[in-house]
Symmetry: C2
Subunit: 236 residues, 2 copies
DNA sequence: AAGTGGTCTAGACCACTTG
DNA sequence: AAGTGGTCTAGACCACTTT
């Protein structure tokens, strides 16, 4: 399991900022020498990180640390698509930004002990000019020190890209639970829906490396014109 | 891309029945000799098929053709779990079995030209003793020659296991589109729901090798006590 | 031309299962 | 003890990108 140790090391390089998002890694021969293993072993470690979209290889150019930009967010974490299959980057409008105590549900989802402080952020996402998704995000304040509404709003990338660029937290996976509900009054207002409309509700826990929970998000989706799409391939 | 050709060959062995579900493959050295490649190349081909759950490796024992039994169906294709996370194999009750002309939607989903014959099967799935899921399945009659209600009902495995054992069709992946709807009258009756209840509707196209569509299924789920769970990991 | 990743080979040695 | 898959090595050669 030598390659596992190499993988660990590479992850650590990313977490400590030694390898920044977008930057190139040393070439495989150099990495092999640094870790005192063969190139094949380095390749195996990198193979897995590429499969997880943490690293990105380009033949002839090099290997790069993956950035959580729009492209990657869209195909890895954004699963809402128009009925005809068209997928479009949503326009995000901030609706609320507060710091408060975690509810029991949030604390459990985020793996917090007791009632820690959390940032609670609400967004309305527009697709094709219409409000379609109402997001409620909760993240542990201790994990994102110094986050505030101004810097959050001023970000030039995705929310996950901001976690990564500003706090060194890379989201690599997420678990979701989906169900149908009658829309709540506040979501109905934001999504301009009638009271009794059925909506999709998605509870997502997003993780950084080692399955550590980093964000808890509940999304309410108006699925009159959009679907939640899921591809079942390998399911590792 | 030598290993791709090896992979193709192995898939063909499964499709032609030369390698039957549950049976052992020749060992890697023999396969390498048969294909005139190195063991490493065989391993790479097998690696991918193992990741796709088509093959199953057991150290010290051998490599086996994957069977679509309950265990595999549950963790790869059955995504409905109780609110508390418990996952349970559903009790399946046949509700309807007919042969008729494909609708336009079915024909498109199954990649049929014109209005071919399809088997249309409806099931009600029970969890914890309660009816929770109403499935409507459509499969091309030409792809499942000789299928009839008696043999379908008499199967001793999962539906996908039956496709595999009786017709040599292995389901390897599926695409799903999920949305919230008001329950239809017929589903409401089968699931014992009130008229205006919101339910989850899942449209699934299941594929065999090479992304060839083999089954189109619409599931209506009562999500008062159960969720649709999705894990976002690698997303190849 | 030089440097990068991509594929394939050949073989050593280890871990596990079976008889 | 024999046979299987699992890991690691060392190196050849190819495909692609950059200078």
């Amino acid at each position: 399991m030598l390659y596992r140790q190499v993988k660990r090391q590479l992850i650590q390089d990313i977490q400590t900022g030694m390898a920044a998002p977008g930057a190139a890694l040393p070439n495989e021969k150099d990495l092999a020498q640094r870790f005192q293993v063969s190139v094949g072993t380095v390749r195996r470690a990198v193979d897995e990180l590429v499969a997880e979209h943490v690293l990105l290889r380009q033949q002839g150019r090099g290997t790069f640390v993956g950035k959580l930009d729009r492209e990657r967010f869209m195909f890895q974490f954004f699963k809402i698509a128009a009925r005809d299959g068209q997928s479009e980057f949503p326009e995000v409008r901030l609706h609320k930004f507060v710091k408060s105590r975690a509810t029991q549900i949030e604390a459990q989802a985020l793996g917090l002990h007791g009632s820690q402080w959390v940032f609670r952020i609400e967004n309305v996402l527009h697709l094709q000019g219409q409000p379609v998704i109402h997001d409620r995000i909760a993240i542990a304040a201790a994990m994102f020190p110094g986050l505030n509404q101004a810097s959050f709003t001023a970000r030039t990338t995705t929310i996950y890209g901001h976690y990564q660029a500003a706090f060194g937290i890379t989201i690599v996976s997420a678990d979701e639970r989906v169900r149908a509900e009658v829309v709540s009054p506040d979501s109905a207002k934001l999504l301009q829906l009638d009271e009794a409309t059925p909506v999709l509700r998605i509870d997502r826990v997003a993780h950084t490396f080692d399955r550590q929970p980093a964000e808890f998000r509940t999304s309410v989706v108006d699925t009159r014109h959009f679907d939640y799409v899921s591809r079942m391939r390998e399911m590792a």
